[in-house]
Amino acid sequence: MAEAFKFELVSPERLLVSEQVESVVIPGAEGEMTMMAQHAPVMTTIKPGVVTVKAAGGKEDRYVVFGGFADILPSGCTLLAESAVHVNDIDRADLARRIQDAREDAADAKDDVARSRAEQFLSQLTTLEGALLPA
């Protein structure tokens, strides 16, 4: 069995997870990455996506996050999510509303930089929706 490390998932409202885990898959801004114990220190932004947490006991949990940061140290990992929910508790109407908002943002964007950023965010959200639907 792989070495365990401390993983914490916090959203502004509360601390969602704080436990010993084997591995965590996080949707980094520049690609997904799997974290295991003794990972080199990395700090990354995360995009909307699914975080898969494999607990030390072998149990797997999935959380949906909407952007945030990950602070990774050899001794542990802290994920600061802007908003996070367990995959079973995801509210589809809420997700649809976020997508709608993002779409409006993209339409209202004043310059190209803002538009491309909004569109990127929108595409991340729709990908997320696609990934969740069959689940």
Binding site: E30, L73, E82
Partner: protein, 294 residues
């Protein structure tokens, strides 16, 4: 002297008031617990955020690529004050304490010839500040419809503030709220959020500061994403502390009111009984002196 009937009515009305204040106290106590829990649950996030921010600031080392939100505009001519108060009254000196702190601050800034802009969060602060500084108030943010305070509420405020900053609307932003110390003590606080105070750097030297991080994407880019979020977190924390403080203040104010009503009922009952006895005595005397006259 009030008649017996008047006294009876008086006592009944004070009793009704006492019931109301008692109920409000109990509601406030229940809400306080929830607000306190929310404030405590939000604490880890802002703590971690502070640590991350401190780390990354150190990595950048105050170099040229730090965003303007952090370093400021280099001037301090225009001040933006975000005054967070409660939406409702009946909570003792809670709102007026925050407003007084803000007003003192405004007066000092105006005396120094600075320009002041105000954003009011919550109705009560708006009502108080409107009397003297109506022309300075940019906006009033209403959270009355909000049942449970979410991060989205704070985020919306932060977004407005950042937007204003990017347009060059102000140089320095200060947040006014009440820090929740305990149920009976809330401390009105002024906290500068833009440019971000450098105080957090000192805290970094604790655990992770020695580690050399890899950044993905570049530190500057992370920072420019992190700082606005940090502002939202600060505002969120202020709102939560305020919510807890409001309930604490309301609870003790209502407790006082209930006790006052109790005292009043006691006093009124004594007067009522005394007067009733006086009347009985008077009637007796009349009957007896009538009988003696025969």
């Amino acid at each position: 002297m009030a008649s017996l009937k008047d006294l009876r009515n008086r006592i009944a009305s004070v009793k009704a008031t006492q019931k109301i204040t008692k109920a409000m106290q109990m509601v406030a106590a229940a809400k306080l617990r929830r607000a306190q829990e929310a404030a405590e649950a939000a604490r880890p996030y802002s703590e971690r955020m502070g640590a991350v921010l401190a780390n990354i600031t150190q990595a950048i080392g105050g170099g040229g690529d730090a965003p303007a939100l952090m370093t400021g505009t280099g001037r301090d001519d225009v001040h933006l004050l975000i005054v967070c108060t409660a939406e409702r009254g009946l909570c003792g000196g809670f709102n007026s304490q925050i407003a007084r702190l803000a007003r003192d601050h405004i007066r000092r800034l105006l005396a120094d010839g600075k320009q002041v802009k105000i954003i009011c969060v919550g109705k009560k602060g708006f009502d108080i500040l409107r009397r003297d500084y109506a022309s300075l108030i940019l906006e009033r943010i209403d959270l009355r419809e909000v049942k449970t305070l979410g991060f989205v509420n704070a985020d919306a405020i932060a977004r407005k503030v950042i937007h204003l900053f990017n347009e060059g609307g102000f140089d320095i932003c200060t947040l006014f709220y009440s820090q929740f110390k305990s149920v009976i003590s809330q401390i009105p606080t002024a906290q500068q959020i833009i440019p971000a105070a450098q105080a957090s750097t000192a805290a970094a030297t604790g655990n992770g500061a020695t580690a050399v991080y890899e950044y993905e994407p570049e530190p500057g880019e992370i920072l420019s994403d992190l700082i606005p979020r940090n502002i939202a977190v600060q505002i969120f924390r202020a709102l939560l502390e305020n919510a807890a403080g409001e309930m604490g203040a309301k609870m003790s104010a209502m407790d006082n009111a209930t006790r006052n009503a109790g005292d009043m009922i006691n006093r009124l009952s004594i007067t009522y009984n005394r007067q009733r006895q006086a009347q009985i005595t008077k009637e007796l005397i009349e009957i007896i002196s009538g009988a003696e006259a025969l």
